[in-house]
Symmetry: C3
Subunit: 206 residues, 3 copies
């Protein structure tokens, strides 16, 4: 439980960092950076909790807001000094995606919801924050683009692995681990070998 | 009741199709098409249910999600073969708009809300999905543009017809039928004769 | 209480006017102007109430919707005749920002929430409507830009002043007055002397 809490805070902090990074080159000020950081960090879980009609996680435990705020603030002031290598960012992102998607799926499953709802909520927890961030930056969400290399698809397959496991052995921790590993492996493999979903462009020839 | 359920699923499927079509020419991949499809299909009803604080309809009955998902998926793979004539799309759209707006209005009215809230919820059920779709695609919502030819206005007049009828004969089915017909006739007439709302452009002369 | 109710309606009306003004020069029609007006006027409070899981204020008392609707409608038809001086708009905006932020903070505080949640809700009540308006208009939110001259920052410092006062003398009206004055003075001073937050632009030199 304590390990989960620490990883949850790390994932909020990391989300805030990627949200802040999205503000580069757009004449966005400190407040904008903090909002983009917080929205990326807690947006997916907030949407999930609103839709499921359960208390929003960061309103119950506002330590998440503080973590996201501090992470975005530190990013704002350190970005000129820091050189974050893209590779490390992507591996960390894959890890937190896997973790956050699995927690969202498990929360929904434990509330007794059906498979399709669990899949939607798991994926939404992982990608909705980034979608909101991109919309606020005036861009088509990155996760809708094929050059993202299996982001939401990896999340979705991971939730399905978890759900199959949960139908077999309900509440067994190996379901979560299997789901996390599936997402991590798929995402990293997709990054390594540029595995992509087909694009939707009826005008062009294949 | 069964007829209503079938038409509801058809309207979700149709929403998903129009959402998927909006992805054309934007380098959006399969996942993006499915999200745009689902958001267009269930976005209006989701916003309505969140605002009214009732359980979200597709979380209670996840068959709606499956319908929207399958419709967007089929659209993705069939769009190269299919030639959907614009005229048929617009007539189908007018029909589902009328249907969805009336259901949203009736749901709100049956919960005991006031006229202004019923009008907002009825119109929002009909247009919010499309607004979300356009925002996700990085465009000013189509329904805000005068060349749409009385879309939301038709919806609003239909809800008012329903509410006047309901004040007279509460729960009488003819109220719904009158509302649906009002929206259908207004929308199709507006398409036929290019009836439009005035634009807001203080800079230009009239 | 009656004075508060009047100022609340004035702030909704003013929000609707600024929302309508944002539609200029974008080929947006009457319906779009009304939606932009309503979203700007009630968007922040709606987000706050959804997140706090309390009934949405304009669904409980739909007079707010009517006020916002009428204000946007009047703006639509009078904008060609009216010449609203920018200075007066900004001073009125600062006043309503201060008022709305303080009401949002007090509502959250009175529900027993923690400091970070009160700060987020206070600021969100004041700025989320404008953020939604800008996203619907296809723009990066104005409040994220440094040339706004301490908008959200003034709001945040005002909520902190209120919270410090409330920790000392709970429910004392002077807390609200101190918060309102803080926001007003900071915002007007920032406008007068062009006080700004630093921008986030790692590429450029300082």
């Amino acid at each position: 439980m304590t390990l989960q809490y620490i990883v949850e805070h790390l994932s909020v902090a990391f989300g805030a960092v990627t949200g802040a990074l999205a503000a580069r080159g757009k004449s966005i000020d400190l407040f904008g950076v903090i909002v983009l950081g917080l929205v990326t960090a807690v947006g997916g879980g907030t949407l999930r909790d609103l839709l499921l009609d359960v208390p929003v996680f960061w309103i119950q435990d506002s330590a998440y807001v503080v973590t996201g705020f501090v992470a975005a603030l530190l990013m704002f002031f350190s970005v000129r000094m820091l050189q974050l290598p893209n590779g490390i960012l992507q591996v960390a992102d894959a890890f937190f995606l896997a973790f956050v998607v699995m927690l969202g799926t498990a929360k929904t499953w434990n509330l007794g919801h059906s498979w399709p709802v669990c899949i939607v909520m798991g994926v939404a927890t992982g990608v909705a924050g980034g979608i909101l961030r991109d919309v606020l930056c005036g861009q088509i969400p990155m996760v809708f683009r094929s050059h993202i290399d299996l982001y939401a698809t990896a999340a979705m397959i991971g939730t399905i692995v978890y759900l199959i496991g949960s139908a077999w052995h309900p509440k067994h921790p190996s379901n979560l681990i299997a789901g996390v590993c599936t997402i991590l492996i798929l995402r990293l493999a997709a990054l390594r070998w540029r595995i992509r979903l087909p694009e939707f462009d009826p005008g062009s020839e294949h």
